[in-house]
């Protein structure tokens, strides 16, 4: 029991608290990496000056808008696609089910950075996709290096986790209940919305929250598939930390994303608890 908690404390809790203090202007003396950064705001007592400066920055507002757009769009698209796939895997019988099941597992085994690279070679300017469309005389504007390019990449890499999660929920629904509803002549949509969806709310919530948080803080996909400006917050964090030598700004961005994701995480926990209480 102790070892994982030790790891948790040393590698999550401690750095997080440290980051919070630094973002509040309390610059630790012993930390060379923090103290040598540019544009430091130093204070003896906690201050919101760093965040004030951050929120006043026009670039931050643009980055945040892009991040929210991508996170929400990609999460919704991913969940819809994954739900369709999970339903197909659950209710369809036949050879194609096995095929679909193998297909949706595939991205799990392709490192994210390779997936992002593969997507740029296929969907990018003068890529194979454009060449294919040109054969049938369809015009094409590449989504790569645009906001939609990031959405595309996030959906691609997010599929296995989302489908596996939703499938497990669907597999848990007793066959008898569905048969009973079917015997009474309920059409598919009624069974889906009245029976399957309500029984499957928790896995769906897990997929929604985890996907949102994962995409919100992502780096590789927006770095390789997104525009050079504005950047998603993850990319902006890395640039500020590495290239721009502004660790305090990077850490403040990190703390800000922790806060956003904590709110999303809280919504998930609250919803799960309510669901459990209703079920009990």
């Amino acid at each position: 029991m102790l070892p994982p908690l030790l790891v948790l404390t040393l590698l999550v809790l401690w750095p997080a608290v440290d980051a919070l203090r630094f973002s509040l202007g309390l610059v630790p003396a012993g930390n060379v990496n923090y103290t040598t950064g540019l544009d430091l705001i130093r204070s003896d007592h906690p201050t919101l000056a760093v965040f004030g400066k951050l929120f006043a920055n026009a670039a931050f507002a643009r980055d945040l808008r892009l991040t929210l757009f991508v996170s929400v769009t990609a999460t919704l698209l991913l969940s819809a696609l994954a739900y369709a796939l999970a339903l197909y895997g659950r209710f369809h019988r036949g050879r194609s089910t096995e095929l679909v099941r193998t297909l949706y597992l595939l991205p799990m085994f392709i490192p994210t950075i390779i997936a992002a690279y593969a997507l740029t070679t296929f969907y990018g300017d003068n890529g194979l996709f454009e060449a294919m469309l040109a054969r049938v005389s369809i015009g094409y504007t590449s989504p790569i290096r645009q906001a939609w390019g990031i959405v595309l990449g996030q959906v691609w890499v997010g599929i296995p986790f989302a489908v596996l999660m939703l499938s497990s929920g669907l597999d848990g629904i007793p066959e008898e209940q569905i048969d009973a509803a079917r015997d009474q002549g309920a059409p598919f949509w009624t069974i889906l919305t009245r029976l399957v969806l309500p029984l499957n709310v928790v896995p769906l919530l897990i997929v929604l929250t985890f996907s949102f948080i994962g995409i919100f803080g992502s780096f590789t996909v927006p770095y390789l598939l997104g525009p050079t400006a504005p950047n998603m917050l993850g990319v902006s964090m890395q640039l500020n930390f590495g290239s721009f030598r502004q660790p305090q700004l990077a850490v403040a961005l990190a703390v800000f994303s922790f806060a956003v994701c904590a709110v999303v995480g809280y919504l998930y926990v609250a919803a799960t608890l309510r669901q459990n209480r209703r079920a009990a």
Binding site: L8, D18, F91, S96, F109, I113, F122, A254, A262
Partner: protein, 286 residues
């Protein structure tokens, strides 16, 4: 999965689609589109890996060849990156197993105060935006002189494996029928013997899934290594960041094939385990 016991669907396409053949065709097209969406980018990459010259708007390369493979294999940076990748990933997997598996067993078999809280707090480590956490960890590692070191990279990756390595094996341990263990005890087996001859073998598929996912996660991991490991420790995925931006297409493609190969081999070996629901079982909690 209770799919085997259900009566056969009235039509081949499944009852939920309604009957018309038109709908069946629509579903076929959708599956085809999904397959294309997933596979065509990979196909493009595979083609690039064996390409000498490929000019737009050709659907196939104009000239095939393996020149770039030689370039990749003789490049010293790539060799070094491969070395770091294949030393860190197994180390992370082993260390994470040592740290997490006893805890997973404890979660599944014992009751103790604050159990639920501990269990959920592991989730918290995954509910962080990862990059922010890595940056916070980097600042800490600077102080501990772990930046740019092998162990720094291993430790930071340990964070990622916590949830996988505790939850999935915990679910697997919890699924081992108590009666089996008690039966073994009744015929005089020691607790240790029961664990190694009964509990462990039954829970093994779940543990294997966790080990595979941790190994692949570590092999795939680029962001933490980029922040903690640079400049000394660059693994293959980290090398990829600079390769894709500053070299011709085939280099990135050859590299991708090399990097994805271990994963695909594991996919083929472990597909059965991965589909059997251990992954999701872990998330349901024990």
């Amino acid at each position: 999965m209770s799919r085997a016991v259900t009566p056969a669907a009235p039509t081949g396409a499944g009852w939920f689609l309604g009957v018309p053949a038109l709908r069946r065709a629509v579903v076929r097209i959708l599956i085809l589109a999904f397959g294309a969406f997933l596979l065509l980018p990979i196909w493009t990459l595979l083609l690039w890996a064996v390409t000498q010259r490929w000019l737009y708007p050709g659907l196939l390369p104009q000239e095939f060849g393996l020149r770039w493979w030689q370039w990749v294999f003789t490049n010293a940076d790539v060799g070094k990156a491969a070395y770091w990748s294949f030393t860190t990933a197994p180390t992370v997997t082993l260390l994470s197993a040592v740290v997490c598996l006893p805890a997973a067993y404890a979660f599944a078999r014992f009751d103790f105060p604050l159990k639920r809280l501990f269990y959920v707090s592991l989730l918290a480590s995954n509910a962080f935006p990862k990059l922010g956490l890595y940056i916070a960890i980097a600042a800490l590692f600077f102080r501990l002189n772990l930046i740019g070191t092998f162990w720094g990279v291993v430790f930071v990756q340990l964070v990622n494996s916590l949830v996988t390595m505790v939850w999935i094996p915990a679910a697997a341990f919890a699924a081992v029928p108590r009666e089996l263990e008690e039966a073994a005890r009744d015929v005089g087996a020691s607790p240790l013997r029961v664990f190694f001859s009964v509990t462990l073998p039954v829970a093994l598929p779940g543990i294997i899934v966790a080990l595979i996912l941790t190994f692949l996660g570590s092999l795939d991991e680029a962001q933490a290594t980029l922040i903690i490991g640079t400049p000394e420790i660059t693994t293959l995925p980290v090398q990829m960041y600079s390769l894709v931006s500053s070299y011709p297409e085939p280099v990135g493609a050859v590299f991708s094939v090399l990097l994805a190969a271990p994963s695909v081999i594991l996919l083929l070996l472990a597909r059965r385990y991965l589909l059997s629901g251990y992954l999701a079982a872990g998330f349901k909690g024990g």
